[in-house]
Symmetry: C2
Subunit: 288 residues, 2 copies
């Protein structure tokens, strides 16, 4: 059986929240790693895959970017930004005694994001890093005999029937994660149930090695056409220090004239350019 959507699992993670927002009525298949999610689309086991691209606190997810560059055949067809809201949850058996739990399980990033709550309210507890927030919640569900709790999202609490005993324990209010949808061809994926925030085009540029001001020249080609760049990021080409791929987000969708002309010109000065996708982006409201 082939599923419509693959995602970085397990259930109850923030990636699963992104999947539920984008594909509310589809069966989704979880994979254990980002490369496995990407391969699943490439080999046709799923039609789309949803992977994290960037987080407010942690920055770019390098594994996603490095794989996207490697698998140039796949296209980004949509993007959704999901707010990161962390809650402290325990098995219903421990609800009354939640403040005395001995060990708290979660993803290392989630533990870091809830430093204030953990150091003030849960000083006595040992922190135990876990592979994902969803897996931490599952472990708590499976061990009602232990005095433990998990930090995870509302979806994980629902999925694993845990009680949220303290909501919104994250230090920073506007922490968000960007997720992208990958697909075999470049048909933009429109999502009717979410308000459209705009369009982006992501390109990868390799500069010529013998040309000192090449990056400035590339940016000039966009600047005089008033094509706004919302992000520029370098990643190593893995062939030697000083060799980089540049990933550039353009604040508009692919057109017939301006972007193609710019790309043709920067190729003419010796750059190698790939369009990773031109796609709509959405903001997911957290209803909880």
């Amino acid at each position: 059986m082939s599923f419509a959507v693959g995602y970085l699992g397990p259930k109850g993670t923030f990636t699963k929240k992104a999947v539920d927002t984008l594909f509310p009525n589809n069966q989704a298949m979880s994979y254990q790693t980002i490369p496995a999610c990407i391969d699943a689309v490439k080999f046709g086991h799923v039609k789309y895959s949803v992977v994290p691209l960037e987080n407010t606190l942690e920055g770019t997810v390098n594994l996603t970017i490095d794989y996207l560059i490697k698998e140039k055949t796949l296209k980004i067809v949509s993007e959704v930004v999901v707010p990161v809201r962390q809650h402290f949850m325990v098995h219903p058996k421990w609800k009354a005694d939640w403040q005395s739990v001995q060990t708290i399980y979660s993803h290392p990033h989630a533990l870091a994001q809830c430093h204030h709550f953990l150091s003030q309210t849960m000083r006595q507890a040992t922190l135990e890093p876990y592979a994902s927030t969803g897996a931490a919640a599952q472990y708590v569900r499976d061990h009602p005999e232990l005095s433990i709790g998990a930090i995870a999202n509302d979806l994980a609490a629902k999925e694993y029937q845990l009680d949220i005993v303290k909501a919104d324990i994250h230090d920073l209010d506007n922490n968000q994660t960007r997720f992208v949808v990958l697909h075999k061809n470049d048909t933009a994926l429109r999502v009717n149930q979410l308000p459209l925030k705009g369009f982006k085009t992501m390109i990868m540029v390799v500069l010529p090695t013998d040309h000192a001001g090449a990056l400035h020249q590339v940016l000039s080609a966009f600047a005089w056409r008033r094509i706004n760049l919302t992000k520029i990021e370098s990643r190593p080409m893995k062939i030697g220090l000083g060799h980089y791929y540049f990933l550039i987000d353009l604040d508009q969708k692919m057109d017939d004239i301006l972007i193609p002309n710019t790309i043709a010109e920067i190729e003419a000065i010796g750059c190698n350019v790939e369009v990773l996708g031109s796609y709509p982006y959405y903001l997911s409201a957290d209803k909880s």
Copy 2:
């Protein structure tokens, strides 16, 4: 007692190789984490600290960059590039039977870098990720009764009296790591025993939020003065998606006119600029 140099330990890591190259006659103190190394300079427990900044394969060490931005009081005073050469080593007891060892310990990056050797020659062995290459070598030294080996550098083999049974097992020949030396003030650290490769100046720029072409304008200010940029990197400001620090490496040392004028001008268009250091850089030859 205060040590001259702090570094990311334990003994026998690539950071220790950088320390031995830069400070051959000094006692060095190892710390367990990058933030601990940086704090050690800040609080005066050591005069200098050596931390990894960038690797050919893995890219920038985000933790180092994020801490450097946060601790703006510290300066980068020198840089050394160390070739990454990985070797397979065992306890002398297992030297004859090295091809049959059951478990191989190393840092996850080192295991990934030796994929070819591991999948061809050591197919039967289980791979065990460890905190560092040095710690993996120490574990092998401490357990002569176990059928195990480690992937680490020549310094680790010497430090822990292990036998290198297969040298240079890394897939990619020109893998290198850049290390920087941090100090409380901006006195460049000259290293007489290494040939000087040149000078760099690293600056951090925060762009004004209300100004779309600001990055292009910043690069223009350097370009028309023919100040060459060798690297540009973005890191999240951790206040919301779309807000970045830019780290820019300039291919020359701080002067009295050109760089100060450029900085004054980009500050005048609303950027926030910090000079993280202006320093000599060196290439360490691997003598083994």
